[in-house]
């Protein structure tokens, strides 16, 4: 189901207007030999070292690695929050980042942050409608209607007038995903978004994200340190080394979609986990020994 089909009728027309209606081929990401070095107070830190990765459009790609290994830095570079020291990043064959230039962050590649970034001073509805309204793609009234529809269809009706501090963590995260989807981005960048949740809420929200992915087929770039989450969610799992980050192992997840929690006890799952576990554990050990301090 594409968003307009979810909403149907008037709502669908509104969302079509909201979305610069993207084809399924958009959102291809090419990371070519990227290195990111940053320099706080003279200590040269190599966060990413010669990382190369091709992510086809519409793929759910998950990066797994120990904390502090540089995967967030890579995500930030794709998002445009800082630049690369060498190498290039392309989106749909257009140059996104190089040592000379960095494309400013924009609604074509929206980030869902680790600890949530819903504006605390705006209601849920205002948060969700923020993007289209300030980009000028919709009037305020149209945006509110579309926002209500979207929240309704995503199971979040009834809280549109509440502030983020009044709703639970799980709901906040869903609202943030809704806020991103309102802008129909080409790529969804998720930076350990479910890290701060308890295990039970996590399984429900993971399923929720999969539903959204199945409906929209956006390219998803998902970062986590949790191998099980990675295998459950991803089409491909990329294991990266402890800092500096390099691609260590690529695993194709052949589990068919749509997936649900029953996957977790299937044989597919167990085999894939075994395949990845040793690589991940090796890097975790190295990171532990290096005394990595968590990057918040």
């Amino acid at each position: 189901m594409i968003l307009s089909q979810i909403l149907g009728g008037n709502g669908g027309a509104l969302v079509e207007k909201a979305a610069n209606f993207s084809e399924a081929t958009a959102g291809k990401i090419s990371i070519r030999d990227v290195s990111i070095i940053y320099d706080p107070e003279g200590a040269r830190i190599v966060a990413v070292d010669g990382c190369s990765l091709e992510i086809p459009a519409g793929e759910f790609c998950v990066i797994v690695g120990p904390s502090g290994c540089g995967k967030t830095t890579l995500l930030n570079a794709i998002a445009g929050f800082h630049g690369v020291s060498s190498g290039e990043i392309y989106m749909d064959d257009q140059l996104l980042c190089s040592p000379e230039m960095t494309t400013a962050p924009g609604a074509d590649r929206i980030v869902v942050f680790q600890n949530g970034a819903l504006f605390p001073w705006k209601t849920v509805l205002d948060n969700v409608t923020f993007g289209p309204v300030i980009q000028g793609r919709m009037t305020s009234k149209e945006a509110r209607e579309a926002g209500h529809e979207l929240l309704l269809q995503m199971g979040l009706s009834g809280i549109s007038h509440r502030y983020p501090s009044e709703i639970s963590g799980g709901m906040r995260r869903r609202v943030e995903i809704a806020r991103a989807m309102m802008n129909d981005p080409k790529v969804l960048l998720l930076d350990e978004p479910f890290r701060a949740m308890d295990a039970l809420t996590k399984t429900v929200i993971q399923k929720y994200l999969l539903d959204v992915y199945d409906a929209s087929h956006k390219t998803v770039f998902f970062i986590t340190h949790n191998l099980e989450e990675a295998i459950f969610l991803g089409t491909r799992v990329i294991v990266v080394t402890s800092r500096p980050a390099r691609v260590k192992k690529v695993i194709n997840i052949n589990i068919p979609r749509p997936r649900d929690f029953r996957v977790l006890s299937s044989e597919y799952y167990r085999n894939l986990k075994e395949e990845a576990l040793e690589a991940v554990h090796e890097e975790a050990q190295k990171a532990f020994e290096a005394g990595e301090r968590e990057r918040a």
């Binding site: 942050f113 300030i134 980009q135 009706s157 709703i167």
Partner: protein, 306 residues
């Protein structure tokens, strides 16, 4: 307990197969403000706090009365007691013309209040935007902050003689000194407020396609609001502080002047009356700001309540 809508989607229902709800849901009926207040008062009355508090206040008053008018303890000889103060304050023919029935009392009150209003408003109107800009544009801060920090350590009251030179006439110089004090506090707190905003909100706004003016109005201003209001409360208290000093040193009407004059003319009860009035006005003005803050920052109120 939140209604657990999440459980519905686990059972394999598609997201769209939720229970029917109106397309544009009505706002839930929030309990009225006075209902909340009433229940809070009722709850507070069940604890020991208000009774002990009243006990503390009454015993202090009692001690004050005993020391000044009954026992006439050594150091307290010249201090007027509560009876003397009350008999002046509430009499129809006050000896020193200061009572709740006399026009002059209110004239002094109004003189002080009007000066505070002018100084405080000016300081806020200038200080908040300045602080916001300093927090927003680093270059601007580079130019303005050093000057700011160099002038700030000078206590406001040290400005009084210079202010009298700069603005001949008492009125303007007193307002200027009051304004300066409030201005520094407001600007600094606003700046701190902007700098306290978590970087992540700026990034989220950028991701959603914000241009600089959107960042200013949708992230910087609301984000700094809590600090701004804390600053406004502090600056209000500080304004009263500076005003009273200014009026005592160089004023013609107003409560500060009244205090000083009463002291010079041996009208002791008036002294105390003016002090109490000042205390009340100070508390009242801070409470006003707190009320405005609560209205503007609903999200904080609900967070604390929830």
């Amino acid at each position: 307990m939140e209604p657990d809508e999440l459980s519905k989607s686990v059972e394999g229902q598609s997201l769209a197969e939720q229970g029917a709800q109106p397309t544009l849901p009505e706002e839930e009926r929030e309990p009225l403000t006075w209902e909340i207040m009433l229940s809070r008062i009722k709850y507070a009355l069940r604890t020991s706090a208000p009774y002990l508090g009243a006990l503390g206040l009454l015993s202090t008053l009692l001690a004050y009365w005993l020391l000044t008018e009954v026992i006439k303890a050594p150091l307290f000889e010249k201090v007027p007691g509560p009876v003397a103060v009350a008999s002046e304050w509430f009499s129809h023919h006050p000896m020193f013309r200061i009572s709740i029935y006399s026009g002059i009392y209110y004239k002094h009150i109004w003189a002080s209040c009007w000066r505070i209003i002018q100084a405080f408003l000016l300081a806020t109107v200038l200080g908040v935007p300045l602080g916001l800009f300093m927090g927003w544009k680093k270059v601007f801060k580079d130019y303005t902050f050093p000057l700011f920090e160099l002038t700030r350590p000078i206590p406001m009251l040290a400005w009084v003689p210079l202010a009298i030179l700069m603005f001949p006439g008492y009125e303007a110089s007193v307002i200027y000194v009051t304004f300066l004090g409030a201005f520094f506090v407001t600007t600094l707190n606003t700046l701190l407020g902007v700098e306290s905003i978590d970087e992540v909100y700026f990034r989220a706004a950028l991701c959603l396609g914000s241009r600089p003016r959107h960042i200013f109005f949708h992230v910087i201003v609301p984000g700094a609001l809590p600090f701004i209001f804390t600053g406004l409360q502090i600056s209000m208290g500080y304004s009263w502080f500076c005003l009273v000093a200014g009026e005592m040193i160089a004023g013609k009407y107003g409560l500060g002047y009244l205090i000083w004059n009463a002291y010079m003319e041996f009208q002791e009860p008036v002294l105390i009356i003016a002090m109490i009035t000042l205390g009340f006005l100070g508390w009242f003005s801070s409470a006003l700001i707190r009320m405005v803050a609560r209205r503007l920052m609903q999200w904080q109120v609900r967070e604390i309540a929830g």
